[in-house]
Amino acid sequence: MKSIDPTIVKKKTLIYIPKLNRRQRTIVSTVFAAMLLLAIILGGLLISNERITTNLEIRNLSPSLEHPFGTDWLGRDMFARTIKGLTLSLGVGITAAAFSVLIALALGMLAATMGKRIDALISWLIDLFLSVPHLVSLILIAFTLGGGVKGVVVGVALTHWPSLARVIRAEVMQLRSAEFVGISRQFGKASWWIATRHIFPHLIPQFFVGLVLLFPHAVLHEAAVTFLGFGLSPQQPAIGIILSESMKYLSTGMWWLAFFPGLALLIMVRSFDILGDNLHMLIDPHRGHE
């Protein structure tokens, strides 16, 4: 992940709670974002499937107390579908981001410890993947694997690692030239020993921050690829599917079909974004000084 201009971060947090000091703001926004995400997960698990089965008698209802997000053309409750969709997106996002970070970690470590040739090879691979837009390679991979949850997860995992791998490689390079590593090497420790005992622990914060920062990317790309129809079955309430389906009915004036799910996706991604930024600040001491 590219480092973020501190002024932007400051502006963003200011919008939320202006009177608290920065530390309090960070904590409050983090807690708020975490609670929101927890609520989505719980909601997704608790809402019964009956709410999203078709009920042709209550189709095309505009938002009301009973159906806060309205119902669609098949009488499915849009609120339940949105929450379920967000849960699915969360699941796919977390799995894909976790895989992606693991790949980045492994390759970053390999590149920095295994000698020049491997480093050159991995750097070339990183450049290669970075040169192709995410979405293009994502569509290709998901399509090759025949779509479905598997296709989307593998696709997102295989396309999102390069930028993080590059950061980790740089971090490992820096660590390798640190004094304590040099001393360790002079003591005759094997490079594997150095990698696992000295270098790896320093990468754990990177790992978590990378995970959280990759997550919104993964969710958005999951939504994009299902929006384009390379992902899941239309019965599965994924946000991308909800949005793409709704587009067909927008011209009939059913604005609620796309508005609420889109807004919900925006809010969820933004909360994770805030969570990631704050975590980054808390874990990485250098970021905290900025």
Binding site: M1, I4, I8, T53, T54, L56, E57, R59, N60, W73, L74, G75, L213, P216, H217, L220, G229, S233, P234, Q235, L243, M247, K248, Y249, L250, S251, T252, G253, W255, A258, F259, G262, L263, L265, L266, V269, R270, D273, G276, D277
Partner: protein, 537 residues
Amino acid sequence: MSKKLLSLIMFFALILSSILLTSCSPAEKAISPTEENINKDELVLAIGSEPDDGFDPINGWGRYGSPLFQSTLFVRDNNFKIVNDLATDYDISEDGIVWTVKLREDVKFSDGMALTAADVEYTFDAASKSGSVIDLNIMKSVEATDEYTVKFILNEPQSTFINVLATTGIVPKHAHDENYAENPIGSGPFKLVQWDKGQQIIVEVNPEYYGEKPNFKKLTFLFLGEDGAFAAAKAGQVDMASIPAAFSQQEVPGMKLVNLNSVDNRGILFPFAASGGTTEEGFPVGNDVTADIAIRKAINIAIDRTALVNGILEGYGTPAYSVCDGMPWWNPDTVTQDNNLEEAKKILADAGWMDTNGDGMLQKDSLKAEFTMIYPASDQTRQSLAIAVADMIKPLGIHAIAEGKSWDEIEKMMYSNAVLFGWGSYDPLEMFNLYSSETAGKGYYNTGFYSNSTVDEYMKKALEATTEEEAIEYWKKAQWDGTTGFSAKGDAPWAWLVNLDHLYLVKENLEIGTPKVQPHGHGWPMTDNIVEWHWNK
């Protein structure tokens, strides 16, 4: 990250603005001055879907009648009676084997060359050799005996052969090459001027046309998709738009909703064979779940067809119980009592389907009651039907996974998965093609590999029958003879769902006469009575 966020916000703003724009803008535009319309001699239509294979009748263009650029030997009038078009007379030999057709002598192709018997011979010869959807297996040979007489010799008598003559457009022998599908030359009322693939075709009146001249000199057919056509109608950009039932509840200023009866139906084809085989091309055949008659019957009984008509078609349609509801050869005994979950559950339980692991889904030994149901992704009505049916049969413990695919993908998957197909023709031969064991695995016909020797026998007799009454009796028996048949009462290889009305938004002052009951033809048969269309003064 902030870039990402920005793009998300922009995407969202795009959606919002598209809602606002589509709901505000048409109001001013649609109420365009009517005087301007009355004298306009061109029409912009968003009614047909783009034919992938182009406009070559040999490849199946116009097989539902009215090929627009070509003309046929015979046509059906509004009462489905066969009347002459290119032909002036025809004669069948006593044994039913030799058909002799006399042609008009004043017909010219749009390039000015005369249409003769040689062109007819060439057309049917090429069609029978092409192996396309036009079924000419029954035809042994075709021969031009003089300049305006054609002789067809059949392998055996077939009463329905006339339908092939009424739906195959005649192509010019001198101008039929590999580019013909993109550059058709024919003797129909219009000629193709321009085809912008993926967007539109522009056609103009064929000055050489022998029949009554249409009132419009130029037609533009836009390929917009369903929501695009509706949006264009709202914006006042088209004179006629075909719309799915879901959009029918909205008033569009300046346009009237025209609702045409059709024999166009939608149903679920179940693979009838057990899994394991492959087609000649190597695509998998069969499905163990749908091969079980209990599953097929239970689904047929459980579906609430009336709810589908009211909920998805907004009432513009009727429940379908067979491929040919309401046609003379339809057997009314095949109507089943549907929306009956209890009966369906009983059928499944009797056949040994049980929920052994308590997940709400049925199993039989190690087989789960689960199958994929595919539909063309661009068709909203079929998608809604697929999702609604999947939800209707879920309480039975049958898990149908609805998946939208492109036709290319469907062609590979249709032998081993349930498919939401649409059919509907004026010709009982279609019924034969869908249910005969002879057509198993041939194109879109009988992709489920349905086969029942009793049904085959009845249908053979129906085809060989010399009178229509006799044929109809056998067609009815093939559906249900009291013990077996291809209807839902018998083997139930299909679950027919609905017959749709075709809905069009038509400019208020455009009069479109009385179109025929519409066949399944992706919109094109609508142009059949175009000579009757005119502006109302």
